[in-house]
């Protein structure tokens, strides 16, 4: 089981969290101008790196805060992402 570092509650078990996918996916500035392919790319296509991945989690059973961590997709090592904490 993963242990995730909640910025408010501290390290907790993965079962207390919900997964929010890749971090930093910005909403399109002019969504009406996007064609179907570009809209589908925004909605569904995410990076799938072998290595470090920045992702969002929500502490569902705890303080209900969203936060960002960096996780290594091979080793599952998790570190808090200080720079990305501002992305709320």
């Amino acid at each position: 089981m993963l242990t995730l570092p909640c910025p408010f509650c501290g390290p907790r078990d993965e079962t207390e969290f919900g997964y929010g996918g890749e971090a930093g996916v910005a909403y399109p500035e002019r969504p009406a101008d996007l064609d179907d392919a570009a809209w589908a790319e925004y909605l569904f296509l995410r990076a799938n790196p072998r290595g470090w991945f920045t992702e969002r989690w929500v502490h569902r059973a705890g303080c209900r805060q969203w936060f960002t961590v960096r996780r290594h997709t091979v080793t599952n090592e998790v570190v808090p992402d200080a720079a990305a904490q501002e992305v709320r």
Binding site: F8, C9, R12, D13, T15, E16, A61, G62, C63, R64, Q65
Partner: protein, 172 residues
């Protein structure tokens, strides 16, 4: 009139009460506490005679004695709303119910189904943690060196009461 109306109240456990008692352990339910959910302020709400639990950075739970007034909402919520302008103050008395565990064995019982560290050095008197206990979401607050208060959703109360009775068998 008021006493008759209040006598008709039924807690989430119905007519059966949680009443576990052993040499170093007591578990009882306190079904009619006044619970008020406060969001949007980082300063602790102040209510006389109540426990104030910090559930999140700007999220508080006020745990006050049962109100003896028949009203649409507890008087505590109204007074907090005027004291904390800009914050969201909602009476959630029927959302959660309260289980009180006292005695040196209280922590050991919870450890059967909870991975949280409830050591007094981590969870001092007045502090609160939220997490999972026996697959139910709970918040656990410490009121004394060996006294813990458990807030559980009303719909999980019967499950958790049954689980606590079972988990405490070896301490009776």
């Amino acid at each position: 009139m008021t006493a008759e109306v209040l006598a008709l109240r039924e807690g989430p456990l119905g007519t059966e009460r949680l009443d576990v008692s052993g040499p170093a352990l007591t578990i009882v339910d306190e079904p009619f506490r006044t619970l008020v959910d406060v969001r949007g302020t980082t300063t602790a709400p102040v209510v006389d005679g109540a426990w104030t639990w910090r559930l999140g950075p700007d999220w508080w739970l006020v745990d006050a004695p049962a109100s003896d007034a028949v009203a649409l909402e507890s008087p505590v919520a109204t007074s907090l709303r005027s004291a904390l302008p800009g914050a969201s103050v909602v009476d959630v008395s029927s959302l959660r119910t309260v289980f009180v565990l006292t005695g040196p064995d209280a922590r050991a019982v919870l450890a059967h189904g909870c991975s949280l560290d409830l050591d007094p050095r981590v969870l001092p008197v007045g502090a609160c943690v939220q997490g999972m206990l026996a697959q139910a979401q709970v918040s656990i607050g410490r009121t004394d060196a060996d006294a813990l208060r458990l807030h559980v959703r009303a719909s999980f109360a019967r499950h958790l009461a049954a689980w606590l009775r079972d988990a405490s068998v070896e301490y009776l």
